[in-house]
């Protein structure tokens, strides 16, 4: 029992949980109203769009790819809603079009990666520039607002008690993502593709279809997040969500997902999401200015990328005295957990 607990604590998720407890303890003692429902809602609400995209980004990275176009897609989908609304198109229809644009461009990303065989770094970098460019064409240098009240209310007010639609969607998507990743055939395929695409292909895994599905979902979910952001802010600019992609990717990496693919858990990703939200909340409430916030969170994220590698190397160093445990380890040790564990979950 004691050994089991020790083993769990030594996992990356255990480390995150401890880190989270430290930040929570800090917040609870420093901020009198930290544990109020309002503050917990605020805490999620202020980063909710990123949190939603983090869920799908975990799949992208576990499958061994990257999607740099998510934030530009958020901006584009918000811009599509805004531009269509200005043209007199009913908002529900505009939202559907925006979601369609997201899924469509996601599909195209997936096609170029999986069928044409281009690097996802290059393909989605093109999307990063291109989608933002389209958003700029649609909204120009303006701030488009004046949406119907029901739309902004959905983004800003509680749907069930104080819980907003965005938070509700995040909760549902988090459960769906956890089940899909750890308890479905699709999740198993994602890990196999991420561990080794050629090996997966030889064992009959439809690698291309899995990747296309994941990129399509990534576009769709990013577009949804963009629409939610437009509703929350009540106004859209071409720069909506600019720079979010790096925050999103770093939260996924902090969650213990290996940048080389094949490794990571949804629990780790959710822990790191909550950790970063708490950190920001604590810093803002403590009256820390924007520049310092960026600095502190940046420092944490650097550590999060370096620490797991150093951690694994340290452990590998100890283990080297014993018989070689695995020949499957990637050239640089993966972030967080061992490949064998990922496969069992």
């Amino acid at each position: 029992m004691g050994r089991e607990l020790w083993r769990r604590l030594r996992s990356w998720e255990g480390l995150l949980a401890i880190l989270l407890l430290v930040v929570l303890a800090f917040n609870v003692t420093r901020v009198p109203n930290f544990l109020t429902v309002t503050n917990q809602i605020n805490l999620f609400q202020l980063g909710i769009e990123k949190a939603i995209v983090v869920l799908v980004m975990a799949f992208v990275i576990i499958s061994g790819e990257i999607d740099l176009s998510v934030a530009s897609m958020m901006g584009l989908s918000a811009a599509v809603v805004a531009a269509l609304f200005e043209l007199g198109v009913p908002v529900p229809l505009a939202i559907l079009v925006a979601l369609g644009v997201g899924a469509g461009f996601g599909l195209i990303n997936g096609f170029f990666v999986a069928r044409v065989g281009l690097s996802s770094l290059a393909v989605t970098l093109a999307g990063y520039v291109g989608f933002r460019g389209l958003a700029r064409l649609l909204v120009q240098d303006r701030s488009v607002g004046g949406f119907p009240a029901w739309f902004t209310d959905l983004g800003q007010r509680g749907l069930i008690g104080p819980v907003t639609l965005s938070i509700l969607l995040f909760a549902i998507l988090a459960v769906v993502a956890a089940v899909a990743l750890h308890a479905s055939g699709f999740g198993r395929l994602a890990y196999e593709v991420g561990n080794s695409a050629p090996a997966a292909r030889f064992s009959g895994v439809p690698v291309a279809r899995v990747k296309i599905a994941i990129f399509t979902l990534s576009g769709l979910v990013s577009a949804l997040a963009g629409v939610l952001m437009a509703a929350r802010l009540g106004a859209v600019r071409a720069s909506t969500a600019e720079g979010f992609e790096l925050d999103i990717i770093t939260v996924v990496l902090l969650g213990g997902v290996s940048i080389f693919g094949g490794v990571g858990t949804m629990l780790g990703v959710l822990l790191s999401t909550y950790l970063v939200l708490n950190l920001r909340n604590g810093l803002v409430i403590a009256g820390v200015t924007g520049n310092t916030q960026t600095g502190i969170i940046g420092l944490l994220l650097i550590l999060s990328v370096l620490a797991p590698n150093l951690w694994e190397r340290g452990r590998a160093g100890l283990r080297r005295r014993r018989p070689e445990p695995s020949l499957r380890a990637p050239p640089v040790a993966p972030a967080g957990s061992m490949p064998s564990r990922a496969a069992t979950e």
Binding site: V31, P32, N33, F34, T36, T38, N39, N42, Q45, L46, D141, R142, S143, G145, T152, Q156, R232, L233, G234, A235, R237, E242, G243, R280, N281, V284, I285, A286, G287, V288, T289, G290, N291, T294
Partner: protein, 361 residues
């Protein structure tokens, strides 16, 4: 501390029906007391946040300096927090600070709004949770969630001053000019540009042709690029009007770098210390501004007095703001379509080669 003082209300209580709420009494009693300006109750403990559009530019540092001065005079035992987002993250960052302000226990937030109406949900939320929101420099366009706006100058007058400077630089024959603004979400710049466009309708300015308005988001590099783009795009342009302290410097730098200061001039709103060089070398012969130190000072007085209950935040209240003297809360005539209150500071100073050096200190 959110203690409301109902002294005036209590005095009238006997005269009025017993079922009238104390809050209403206080509000009704205030205009009756007008004539005598309200003095601030010193030494009250008020937790305050000074939230500019972003940190790192001189005008906001000057406002901070003015607020510090007022804080010392009023003897508030709790030092206020001068916090702000980065310029790139201004909109989301301001919303984040505003949303979390009640949780952090702030009694009042002093906001220079850079988030258009996007700040409204969080400002309304703050008010509902008992945190006052006093805007300064840049208001909330639709007035929702805003207790009162401390205006540096009359926004209609700003338009007129800019039109006059353009006329004075371009001469009676007029010419083409473009506007380099801050962000499309900046309520103050938007209002000034609209006011300037109104002013240009007057036949006196018939020869002034406004080409277009571009936005540099109050970031030096972006403003510089936008100024360069204007220069290449409009060969006959003779003036760049930048109603922002960041944009005006960037535009002057761009003109100087291209050696175009003889053909094209810069004007607008700028800080004397930053503009001295360009006024002396002829790039920016005339520009205008008000004192940001005074604006920070006055904003602190208004905010402190609202939080202590010295002021109720209703139309017609007159109060003393330390060394700046007496002010009155009025409806905001520059936002006629919405319910909004204003305290007007003023005045404008137009700077040129004769007075810029002294002002630059």
């Amino acid at each position: 501390m959110k203690r409301r003082r109902f002294i005036a209300g209590a005095m009238c209580a006997g005269l009025l029906a017993a079922n009238v709420g104390a809050g209403v009494l206080a509000q009704e009693a205030t205009p009756a007391a007008s004539g005598a300006a309200v003095e601030a109750t010193t030494g009250q403990d008020v937790k305050m946040m000074l939230l500019p559009k972003f940190l790192g530019i001189l005008p906001f540092d000057q406002a901070n300096q003015g607020a510090q001065e007022a804080a010392a005079e009023l003897g508030n035992p709790t030092a206020f927090d001068f916090v702000g987002p980065t310029a790139e993250n201004s909109v989301a960052g301001q919303i984040e600070f505003m949303t979390n302000a009640p949780t952090a226990g702030y009694d009042v937030v002093m906001l220079s709004n850079n988030s258009g109406d996007q700040i409204v949900p969080s400002a309304v939320g703050a008010q509902e949770a008992g945190t006052k929101v006093v805007t300064w420099d840049s208001p909330i366009p639709n007035g929702e969630g805003e207790s009162v706006f401390v205006a540096q100058v009359d926004f209609t007058e700003t338009g007129k001053v800019m039109a006059d400077m353009a006329l004075s630089i371009l001469g009676e024959d007029g010419g083409q000019f473009a506007i380099l603004s801050a962000s499309p979400d900046a309520a103050n710049q938007n209002a000034w540009i609209a006011a300037m466009e109104d002013a240009l309708e007057d036949p006196a300015y018939a020869n002034l042709e406004l080409l277009e308005t571009v936005y540099g988001d109050d970031q030096s590099e972006k403003s510089y690029e936008q100024a360069q783009a204007l220069i290449s795009k409009h060969p006959d342009m003779e003036l760049i009007m930048a109603p922002t302290s960041v944009g005006i410097v960037s535009a002057a730098q761009a003109l100087q770098a291209e050696g175009l200061c003889d053909e094209i001039k810069v004007s607008g709103l700028g800080v004397p210390a930053e503009m001295l060089e360009y006024t002396q070398n002829g790039c920016a012969p005339e520009f205008a501004l008000w004192s940001f130190v005074d604006l920070g000072y006055l904003t602190y007085y208004v905010s402190y007095m609202l939080a202590t209950g010295d002021l109720q935040g209703v139309e017609g209240e007159t109060f003393m703001a330390g060394r700046l003297g007496e002010y009155t809360i009025t409806q905001d005539p520059t936002r006629p379509d919405v319910e909004a209150l204003r305290v007007l500071m003023g005045p404008f100073t137009v700077y040129n080669i004769d007075n810029v050096e002294e002002a630059a200190g």
